[in-house]
């Protein structure tokens, strides 16, 4: 499979602060590649280096065949960037924003108009094309930002926390757009701290923490890393004193987490825990209101890998 991004030993220092520490990975053409990590892990710094916004301290990054340090303009022609903040020009109309983006990306006049119309229609913004971008809601600004990033038909689209701060409806729409773009052949590099987003959207995920890569794999294979972290979630009709401690002492229970009116019991052996839970409920005269066994989530993997 052709590689569109190839990163080797990429490192970034801000003064004495090590933001990204010798990371190596690649992204295949046509992939949705997730870059997952907590705040301050180095996700945005990595995107800034790959898109030529900041210069790496050391290491190399080849994007669509071009070194981002030696041939930044050639690399930039092939990529689109949606930064974390929707950086639209609030004083310009929706139409002018897209046209300006096309102009600075060297899209010729007629082609620019055709693409702008097509994109604004695709994102449901064409009827608002004369409206000032500053008047748009956060979700619509996000859509406009994506349209601006796509005007020159980039091969790779970098999305930095694309759904951060959006309402449920806008989040859903942005995710649909990402899938649609990917189906039409655009490679997507997506940073997120949202496990669910990474799980449902990405073909492969890199987990970054404190500037270092903790793992790179498919969501399912990453989950297998945490295969032992099954859990049983239970809630009872009553909560006698010391219940949490009693649950913690049950056979095969490794740890107990209180989650609202429920308890989550981490275990390697869910059937043993289920039996002992029933016994405990009988002994204490409690009714079990709900009982669920859960496999490892990407969040478990993330916590395991990042030491969170």
């Amino acid at each position: 499979m052709a590689r569109v991004i190839e990163v080797k030993e990429l490192t970034k220092y801000y003064g004495s602060l090590l933001a990204v520490d010798h990371i190596t990975f690649h992204v295949n053409r046509g992939e949705i590649f997730g870059f997952l990590g907590p705040n301050g892990a180095g996700k945005t710094t990595t995107v800034r280096m790959l898109t030529g916004l900041t210069t790496p301290t050391s290491g190399t990054a080849i994007v669509v065949g071009h070194d981002v340090v030696r041939e930044p303009r050639a690399a930039k022609r092939k990529i689109g960037l949606l930064p974390e903040a929707s950086n639209v020009y609030t004083e310009l109309s929706v139409w002018d924003n897209v046209m300006f983006s096309g102009e600075i990306h060297g899209v010729p006049g007629r082609e620019r108009q055709r693409r702008a119309k097509e994109l604004l229609e695709m994102f449901g913004l064409y009827n608002r094309r004369r409206q000032k971008a500053g008047k748009l809601s956060k979700g619509l600004k996000r859509r406009l930002s994506i349209a601006m990033a796509l005007i020159h038909e980039p091969e790779v689209l970098f999305l930095d926390e694309p759904t951060s701060g959006l309402d449920v409806q806008s989040t859903r729409l942005v995710r649909q757009i990402i899938r649609r773009l990917n189906r039409s052949g655009t490679t997507i590099f997506l940073t997120t701290h949202n496990m669910e987003e990474a799980n449902t959207l990405c073909h492969r995920i890199a987990v970054i923490n404190r500037g270092k890569l903790a793992a790179v794999d498919t969501p399912e294979r990453l989950k297998a890393v945490a295969e032992r972290t099954h859990s049983v979630v239970v809630s009872f009709s009553t909560r006698p004193r010391g219940l949490k401690e009693k649950l913690g002492k049950l056979p095969a229970v490794e740890s107990v987490l209180e989650e609202g009116d429920k308890f989550r019991l981490y275990t390697r052996d869910p059937p043993v825990v289920l039996e002992s839970l029933l016994e405990l409920a009988r002994a204490e005269g409690m009714k079990i209101i709900s009982l669920n066994t859960l496999g490892p989530t990407l969040e478990d993997v993330f916590i395991r890998l990042t030491g969170g």
Partner: protein, 247 residues
């Protein structure tokens, strides 16, 4: 092309705003009144200083405001992420500032000559003065905007430390041939001196140099500000990234 696109965008975003337009009308008007009212000064003596001062303040005002603001709103990243050279970005900013300076500079010229009847001795000198000094002061403003900050106020304060003393050493208030020789030497390092001298030639009240020398002086300053500005913007970018990361 990219530079022109940026200049057009800046015009729509910053220069065509009501505040900027009001500034463009009110600033020369009040300056005009403060120059003329209560002073027994021929119009031709007052107009050169007034015109060059208005061009300096207007051409160098919005660039230093827009760049830190764009850094804060992250729209500057949009320019940096585009496949254009860094020089094209700065050239676009300079172009917008120069056009604004030129337009505002035409206000005292128009009022002075067409309405109040001041005699224009050398229109060529005035044209050169307006065009080249607009570009020069716009480049000066963009150079100051390299100051690694996301707060426009920080740049404006720093700029005024330079712009205000320039008014007193460049022959704007008192013609250069009437000021002490030491200050006259200092005047040579101020681009406003050359702009003002050209305007004085234009209005026929006598400059201390000639058109070619004044124009050359302004061109040299424009090139120097542009080169220095590009270097500073490029070098200090990392400082902005670092402070952003630490905050």
């Amino acid at each position: 092309m990219a530079a022109w696109a940026i200049a057009k965008k800046d015009f729509k975003c910053y220069y065509a705003r009501p505040g900027s337009i009001m500034f463009g009308i009110m600033f020369p008007l009040f300056m005009f009144l403060s120059f003329i009212v209560g002073r027994n000064l021929p119009l031709e003596e007052a107009l050169p200083g007034l015109t060059s001062m208005v061009v300096m303040f207007s051409a160098s005002s919005i660039g230093p405001f827009s760049i830190p603001l764009e850094r804060r709103l992250k729209t500057f990243d949009r320019l940096l992420a585009a496949p254009i050279s860094f020089y094209a970005i700065l050239a676009g900013k300079v172009m917008a500032g120069a056009l604004y300076g030129l337009a505002i500079g035409l206000v005292p010229v128009t009022v002075g000559t067409l309405i109040l009847g001041a005699r224009l001795a050398d229109p060529t000198a005035l044209t050169i003065s307006l065009i080249v000094s607009s570009a020069c002061f716009a480049a000066m403003g963009v150079m100051f905007a390299s100051f690694p900050t996301e707060n426009p106020g920080n740049v404006t304060i720093a700029m005024n430390f330079i712009r205000l003393p320039m008014l007193f050493i460049s022959g704007v208030f008192i013609p250069l041939n009437r000021i002490p020789a030491t200050i006259r030497l200092a005047a040579l390092i101020s681009p406003l001196t050359y702009a003002n001298d050209l305007a004085r030639i234009a209005y026929g009240v006598g400059g201390i140099m000639n058109i070619a020398l004044d124009a050359l002086g302004l061109i040299v300053f424009t090139i120097a500000f542009s080169i220095l500005g590009s270097i500073l913007h490029y070098k200090l970018r990392e400082g902005i990234e670092t402070s952003r990361r630490r905050s």
